[in-house]
């Protein structure tokens, strides 16, 4: 703890931590996870972004990611600590913009494709043999919380650390200290692909586990 940190903690200021975690999974068996992710964001949309619902869905996604540990291929994380709430808020907002910029937003083709139903029906589509199954899946989880969580404030680019980090995210929800939550993932649905060249181009920070 630096001098300034110590001063801030004595003076009773609130410590804000902003943390973003990338998890990259590989394999045909990861496709069902897309159903989980789409279900999660749909719940959030239906609740108009209610923070409690977001926290629940974050915990749910982390839980399922932990089950898929054998498919983790690479990961990355970044974050910062601040005593200025506004600064944390700005950082969170910038991270959303950056995360969303990693993937495209166009629904081109998708609206006319028969596979479009997968986005609203979750995993129903994976029984359709004609749908190509993505090999790569990237999940980006961003949180801001109050306090200190050493499991997250470190490098998560190794399997044990990532495991502990995801569990710490779940605990944050139950502890009620979350102040911001973002869930992003690419590709958007079963039937879409995230080819390896795009993975390298848009997620350059990923470090092999």
């Amino acid at each position: 703890m630096g001098l300034r940190d110590r001063f801030n903690s004595f003076s009773g200021g609130t410590r804000f931590v902003v943390s973003r975690v990338f998890v990259h999974l590989v394999g045909q068996d990861v496709a069902p996870l897309l159903g989980v992710l789409n279900q999660a964001v749909r719940e959030v949309m239906e609740a108009d972004g209610d923070m409690q619902v977001l926290g629940e869905q974050l915990a749910q996604v982390c839980d399922r990611l932990l089950e898929y540990e054998t498919f983790w291929r690479s990961a990355a994380n970044e974050g910062d600590v601040t005593w200025d709430e506004g600064e944390a808020g700005d950082y969170v907002s910038d991270l959303f913009t950056d995360s969303a910029g990693r993937y495209g937003s166009s629904i081109d083709g998708a609206s006319g494709e028969p596979t479009n139903g997968a986005s609203s029906n979750g995993v129903n589509g994976d029984e359709d043999w004609t749908i190509p199954i993505t090999q790569n899946l990237v999940v980006i989880l961003t949180v801001a919380f109050e306090g200190e969580v050493p499991e997250l404030e470190t490098s998560l680019a190794d399997v044990e650390a990532l495991n502990a980090g995801l569990k710490a995210l779940i605990n944050l929800h139950h502890r009620g200290t979350l102040r911001a939550v973002q869930i992003h993932f690419s590709p958007a649905q079963i039937g879409d692909d995230l080819p390896s060249d795009q993975l390298i181009e848009h997620f350059p920070e990923l470090i092999p586990l």
Binding site: M45, D48, M51, Y91, F96, R102, D108, A180, S186, I207
Partner: protein, 285 residues
């Protein structure tokens, strides 16, 4: 709900403030959203007497019924509308509450007794009968009124500032009791939010609701109301598809050119000189 309105927008182009033309929040329980997008044409400079004003605390949005407005523009909506009190001289001279637009910037000038209709959204956490999961729904809306400049109340703290347009956030809602005065005020919306927050130790509900963002394949909505319809949904980018949602109840500084992040207290897998840096690669398979 509002998602049924099909439109999308570039994933990285979300702005943080929402155009005045946004429709008000619809209760999430509603299945359809039939409010058409208001014409984005801004009101031209001038003074428009206000017949009726409504504030919806779900999104913190004002809806004004204006007199003398060009046809089709008599309903004015804005989420960030500064308020000011008419001076006693103006009131003696017979002025009544009005919307003034100067250089394209609207401000609402009110008499001290003007009652803004206040629509309060009562939310409840209920279990979805189909999935058994808890979800937050607007169970009903209560109607009340808010007099921002009633009596001496508002005047004490800010004095002559009352007569300059400023952003106001209503006080904490109490069922069945008319609201008067303010919960926060400031020269910018964010100042008002931050004063509110230091007073009540929590940001206003409307502010929390407004930070909700979604991106990518999701039909983007904010607080249940559709945003700018995209004119070009087919952008040929070499980008994978994706979806994202996020919300925050953190205040923001909205500093344009934030200093480099992360700071020296930053952490993460790509921190090259971080004191806590760990071996970066540990192949597992």
């Amino acid at each position: 709900m509002a998602c049924s309105l099909a439109w999308t927008t570039a994933a990285c182009s979300f702005s943080q403030d929402y155009p005045a033309s946004d429709a008000p929040a619809q209760p999430p329980s509603q299945q359809t959203q039939d409010t058409p997008l208001a014409a984005p044409t801004p009101l031209s400079d001038g003074t428009y007497p206000v017949q009726q004003a409504t504030y919806d605390d779900g999104l913190g949005e004002y809806s004004l019924m204006l007199l003398n407005a060009p046809s089709g523009q008599s309903l004015f909506r804005s989420a960030e509308l500064p308020l000011a009190r008419l001076t006693d001289e103006e009131i003696t001279a017979g002025k009544s509450s009005e919307l003034r637009v100067e250089n394209g910037t609207p401000a609402l000038y009110l008499t001290p007794d003007f009652r803004i209709e206040y629509v309060h959204n009562v939310t409840e956490t209920q279990a979805d009968p189909q999935t058994g999961q808890d979800e937050v729904v607007i169970v009903r809306r209560e109607s009340n009124f808010w007099t921002p400049f009633a009596g001496a109340m508002a005047g004490q703290a800010i004095g002559s500032l009352l007569f300059r347009p400023q952003y106001y956030i209503p006080p904490v809602y109490q069922s069945g009791v008319g609201l008067s005065g303010y919960g926060g005020y400031g020269r910018s919306y964010n100042d008002a939010v931050s004063r509110y927050q230091s007073r009540y130790n929590a940001p206003p509900v409307a502010y929390r609701n407004r930070q909700f963002r979604s991106s990518g394949r999701l039909r983007s909505t904010v607080g249940g109301s559709p945003r700018i319809p995209s004119t070009n949904t087919r952008v040929n980018t070499n980008r994978p598809s994706g979806s994202g949602v996020g919300n925050s109840d953190l205040r923001r500084n909205d500093r344009p050119n934030q200093q480099a992040r992360p700071s020296n207290r930053g952490f993460g897998s790509s921190r090259r000189s971080a004191p806590r840096a760990r071996p970066r690669m540990r192949r597992r398979r």
